[in-house]
Symmetry: C3
Subunit: 335 residues, 3 copies
């Protein structure tokens, strides 16, 4: 990743809150891993072993931790309490995310749509009637924004995304390719003949500021009210969120996890990959669910900072003890 | 959801088979949840607590159960044996599903395609040669219907859907955004050098009447014969159906469940979310599989109305007993 | 599946390395299953029961195993050590995969893109700047190939696929509909206020020769370096591959399996469906993981040809013994 404009190491230090050690006039033109560093790059080192590798690389400078302060080094350093965080911050200066404006001539934008300033609407995009799109938002090629949906400012929507009617994205929302937002939920009643009738799925989907949604995720609209994904939540690829679910602020959900209808995930909870959560479950703030764990319908789970694992999910230490007991019994049986 | 045309409560009672109690001339213009009810809405109440909330809401009328018959109420009631079902039925009168006809000028429809009457073909849609589309069907923006595929009458296909060649959808099939129907199955043979050769995947996919398919589902065509999803089956989001699978009538499959090649799911079976079913398995009619349970290759599972859980799936009571025994042993060990 | 050009049985025998028994001048015009065989077809039979069915079918000839050599039969036979493999090979002669060339007028191809010879670029396809596409490659309708991405020769890309910038597909890669290649990975650091910042996700994705990728798969690009899917790997539908993962040659991954960031899967490993693999795990060459099994973060698993199952994954025989012990204890308790 090359920067359009090189930055002095002194400026980088100030930008990321690091302490400069060495020649601050060195010009940095990009970021990289240690393994692929080339002249002009800055890299980061999380421990002494990585630091040695970084110093031996072609990088011009290294972001390293406090302990690197003592000795003398062959390259200038940026000393930071959290080198990875400082590096992440520096990286934003060299971001190559394309800034485009305008509307590809192959896009189909309804006359009644309200499009902000500095918006890019890519080739083949379909924007239906009464859609609103905020300033500085990017809509990737062949995406579809259905009638009445709203996309806020500085959003970045990847290609082939579908945003159904009844969906509102606030600001700085990132949606990767193939995701489907505001689809109809999965709720049925049986008729007299035992056949399934779709319960009305006419609610809304609200996605708040700074939410990031991975590729091929699906988030259903509410049945009568709203599905909500709150400020700062991050969803990995292929996450499924059912109707009327409430995902709290800063919740992190790893890939292929599914949350059934009407469940709540509290602020800051961490969900591993392939977790399954039943209907009307309530996972408390800060709870941590290990990969592939399962939460039953109607379950209330509380435990800020506590790890749960297994199906049904129980405290990690209980689960590990069960695994150990079972393995021992099986070995004993074998003899 | 606002109705285009208000309906009298008397008419609604007749339409959904409920008994009117109160002023039948009240005009209803929409449905809603109790929480978001506004004047003109009808709501439903499944129990007395909900009924009290409903009566205190702004709704004009409440669909409630028999027990509500005794006393006097502040709003007119529709008395139904199953209020949720009656409400679902009433909701169809206020459906705002858009009815469109015609073909967006940006759609690419092959001259050899046979398009029925009152069909909508959205912007960017691609309809290849020899495709047939029945009357009153809706094809959402940027969807692709490949050569020779058939879509029946009154189907509703969302945006960004792919329907491969060899696929036939019968009538009233609903497919949500991003689903892929008729993809090539996953079957290989190894050649002399141990490399994988794709076994021919040239069969068909048949999706019968009234099937509903969630967002980002994938259903493979048969290898040499057909994959079949039978009348009335309902698939939640991100369900995967392998080649040559036979999904029975009125089967319900929750999100992220996967069914491997050549397995059969009997009529009316209920599959929870994230269930995994191996190849050539046979799940009997009416069987119920709990979320995340797993069925091995070639397994024959019978048990109408019986719940199975775990991997490998066993009767729920056995599984719960195992969980209890294990937890007890682990606690004992701890002491 | 009908052949455009019938082939003599004698030629088929030579092509697939089988021994002809019977009239070699018989003309074969297609392949089929035994159940749906019609005159002109060749079928295969893996055992004597299937052979009897095949001989009673309308097929003109049967590919069967050695043991069929002894007796006399009502149809000509092709004797092969592996009938299914021979059939698979024969099937390629009758493949109806369409060969198209050119560029649909509704495709948007940037002037700076380098397009090979005999390439098909379907309706609604978007090919951005600096993209390179090799000879004989097929790009399905409404797919998007982002700036700078490379697609090799003889690739087949289905409809509605997204190929992000930074992705390189080598030759003969098959990608089914809805897949997303090169999406941004899922890695965050927390800022001073505890909010999540996306770690830079600016690496590459390399997909080597002969890889096949199922419908709606997602494969993230590397964070700073590359995600790699090596020669001949086969991915079923809805497989998720995280950033910086290294999938070895000839690895086979069944549907809905997910591999978290920076993990390695050794050559020839077999992963069942719905397997979950944590971050920085290392699964050795030839290892076999049963469906729904789980591998923890940082785990190193070695065992060529050994089956592991469960979460956390353990050798199959250990896991089965544990299941047996647990079931026995639960039954004992019941009494």
């Amino acid at each position: 990743m090359s920067a359009s404009r090189p930055q002095s190491l002194r400026d980088l230090a100030a930008y990321c809150g690091a302490t400069l050690k060495g020649d601050g006039s060195v010009l940095i033109s990009g970021i990289s891993s240690i393994a692929s560093a080339k002249p002009g790059d800055v890299v980061f080192a999380e421990n002494e072993e990585k630091l040695n590798l970084a110093l031996a690389s072609a990088a011009y400078a290294v972001i390293a931790e406090d302990s690197a302060r003592q000795s003398s080094f062959s390259k200038p350093l940026l000393i930071a309490t959290d080198p990875k965080r400082a590096f992440t911050r520096v990286a934003t200066l060299f971001s190559t995310r394309e800034v485009r404006e305008g509307q590809d001539e192959s896009a189909q934008v309804h006359l009644s749509a309200q499009i902000g300033e500095h918006v890019w609407i890519g080739p083949g995009v379909v924007v239906e009637e009464e859609v609103r799109i905020g300033d500085h938002t990017f809509i990737g090629a062949n995406s579809v924004v259905c009638a009445g949906a709203t996309v806020g400012q500085q959003c970045h929507i990847g290609p082939n995304v579908t945003i159904y009617s009844g969906t509102e994205l606030r600001d700085r929302v990132v949606v990767q390719a193939g995701a489907v937002l505001g689809s109809s939920g999965f709720g049925y009643v049986r008729d007299n003949q035992g056949r399934y009738l779709l319960f009305p799925q006419v609610g809304r989907l609200l996605v708040e500021d700074d939410v990031e949604i991975g590729a091929n995720c699906t988030i259903d609209r509410g049945a009568l009210d709203a599905t909500v994904v709150r400020r700062g939540a991050k969803l990995d690829n292929m996450v499924h969120i059912g109707h009327n679910v409430d995902v709290g602020e800063d919740v992190v959900i790893a890939a292929q996890t599914g949350i059934s209808g009407s469940s709540r995930i509290g602020t800051g909870a961490l969900l591993g990959g392939q977790v399954g959560i039943g209907e009307h479950a309530d996972v408390g703030p800060g709870t941590i669910l290990g990969g592939q764990s399962g939460i039953l319908n109607n379950k209330v789970l509380r435990g800020k900072g506590i790890v749960f694992w297994g199906t049904p999910a129980r405290p990690l230490k209980d689960y590990l003890r069960e695994l150990a007991v079972l393995a021992r019994l099986a070995r004993k049986r074998e003899k």
